[in-house]
């Protein structure tokens, strides 16, 4: 999977699951604010990423990966 394919796939599944327009998901946007995640729905995002890419975000990863750009990088490095 190329980085571009990863980004397209990530945006697609995140937009569908959290019911936002794909256009609001940009590399610099804050994940929690954009997807309106609280501590519980954050669990759903972690599960979605793991189900989609087989990459698991652990507790410390979740707190350091704040933007979609950081998330793409995190996933890409572990594919």
């Amino acid at each position: 999977m190329t980085k571009e394919e990863l980004i397209l796939k990530a945006n697609e599944v995140l937009a569908e699951e959290f019911e936002v327009e794909e256009s609001v998901i940009t590399p610099d946007a804050d994940i929690k604010a954009t997807l309106q995640l609280d501590s519980l729905s954050l669990v759903d995002m972690v599960a979605l990423i793991e189900e989609t890419f087989g990459v698991k975000l652990k507790g410390t990863d979740v707190s350091s990966v704040k933007t979609f750009g950081a998330l793409y990088d995190f996933i890409y490095e572990r594919l």
Partner: protein, 405 residues
């Protein structure tokens, strides 16, 4: 003691998605039972079930609200929206008053199975998702409704097997009678999916009349061979008479009596003595003579021993008094945790519209049902007071008496 009145009702059942659709189905004698081929493939002894669609709440509730709701909570949401609307209660009222919530529910199998499947397959609990725990608990209906409607009074699920909905209404009435709550949203909800009742099917409790789905649920009929599982949700708004008058609410009925008892006997086989005590207690607490009861909505689920023992109990209390007795389960199947609440609403709809729905498929009585007046055709009749029975596994019994207002 405060008088307890009903000021709103709402329902989502196999007979319709709102009160008007359900009223019409009751009047027409329409059955909500189908044959579900998927259950046969899963190894069910009987693939009969009530059919109802899961409501799509995407436009009404946010993802953050929906993700914690299993099927029966969605049913209950739709029913409660209708009940609150009919009671003329808006969010502003709920925000500024202490309103309680008591709802009958006694399982949430589908989310439990989904989470366990995920754990077994992936060996990673995170993949169960955030909604799983909240969907899986018996109290899922009350926790979801309470957070959605921002209710601030009692918040409690009543798990009393197939009498859950009746007990919820009865307990809500007691809280209001004793001045502990001015208003309580009461009801019952029942999930409709194979996992929730597969083990119930396994004890041979269900009718196997699969070639005639609409004839399978035949309470009191000599040739009945078991119940048909159903579900949905039903909500009634209970409040003190004073509160209802103060806010100019539409008062449509009064909960006169709540009787309850336990059999102290077998876990699945009902007896006669327990239901008799429930009936007598309801009549005594209602302060009405049995001759004032114009209609009896029986628990009768279409099982041999259940219907027989209920017929004996009713005859023991009412004797040769010829009051119409029917089981609306002949149309809906057994709505289990929901049944006590839905059957109050079915009875209310009949009372308000001057008819008694037919006890479908009552073709031949048995020795005990022959002693009761069980109409197999719709009866056009005005009545002002009804009694509704609900009995459950473990021998839990509840009887409600409601008067027209």
């Amino acid at each position: 003691m405060n008088r307890v009145v009903i000021t709103g009702m709402g329902i989502y059942s196999c007979l319709g998605k709102n009160l008007e659709e359900v009223r019409q189905s009751l009047y027409d004698g329409r059955s909500g039972i189908i044959f579900d081929p998927a259950r046969k493939e899963m190894g069910f002894r009987s693939a009969l079930t009530a059919f109802l669609e899961e409501p799509d709440l995407k436009k009404e509730l946010s993802r953050a609200q929906r993700v914690y709701m299993p099927q029966q909570a969605k049913f209950a949401y739709v029913a409660t929206v209708e009940a609150l609307r009919n009671a003329h209660i808006d969010q502003d009222y709920l925000d500024n008053n202490i309103v309680g919530l008591l709802y009958g529910n006694d399982s949430s199998a589908d989310p439990v199975v989904a989470a366990v499947d995920k754990m077994r397959e992936k060996k990673d609990t995170t993949l169960c998702g955030a909604g799983a725990i909240f969907q899986s608990m018996n109290s899922t209906v009350t926790m979801n409704l309470d957070c959605i409607f921002k209710l601030k009074g009692i918040n409690l699920t009543v798990s009393g097997a197939c009498a859950s909905g009746s007990h919820a209404i009865g307990l809500g009435a007691l809280l209001i009678q004793n001045g502990l709550q001015d208003m309580v949203v009461c009801g019952g909800a029942q999930e409709v999916n194979p996992f929730s009742i597969g083990s119930f099917d396994g004890i041979s409790a269900f009718s196997t009349r699969e070639n005639e789905p609409t004839k399978a649920s035949r309470p009191f009929d000599r040739d009945r061979d078991g119940l048909v599982p159903g579900g949905g949700a039903a909500t009634v708004i209970l409040e003190s008479y004073e509160n209802a008058v103060r806010r100019g609410a539409p008062i449509i009925g009064e909960v006169l009596g709540y009787g309850f008892s336990a059999n102290g006997d077998h876990i699945s086989s009902p007896n006669v003595d327990g239901p008799i005590r429930s009936l007598q207690m309801a009549l005594q607490r209602a302060g009405v003579d049995r001759r004032e009861i114009g209609y009896i909505n029986a628990h009768a689920t279409s099982t041999h021993v259940g219907d027989t023992n209920e017929a004996k109990a009713i005859y023991s209390v009412f004797g040769d008094q010829k009051t119409e007795v029917t089981s609306t389960k002949s149309q809906t199947g057994h709505e289990m945790w929901m049944a006590g609440a839905s059957e109050v609403i079915y009875s209310m709809l009949m009372m308000k519209n001057d008819f008694i729905a037919a006890n479908l498929n009552f073709e031949n009585p048995d020795e005990d049902s022959a002693k009761l007046l069980i109409p197999s055709k719709r009866v056009e009749k005005h009545f002002d007071t009804f009694l509704s029975n609900s009995f459950g596994f473990g021998g839990t019994n509840a009887t409600l008496i409601v008067r027209n207002m």
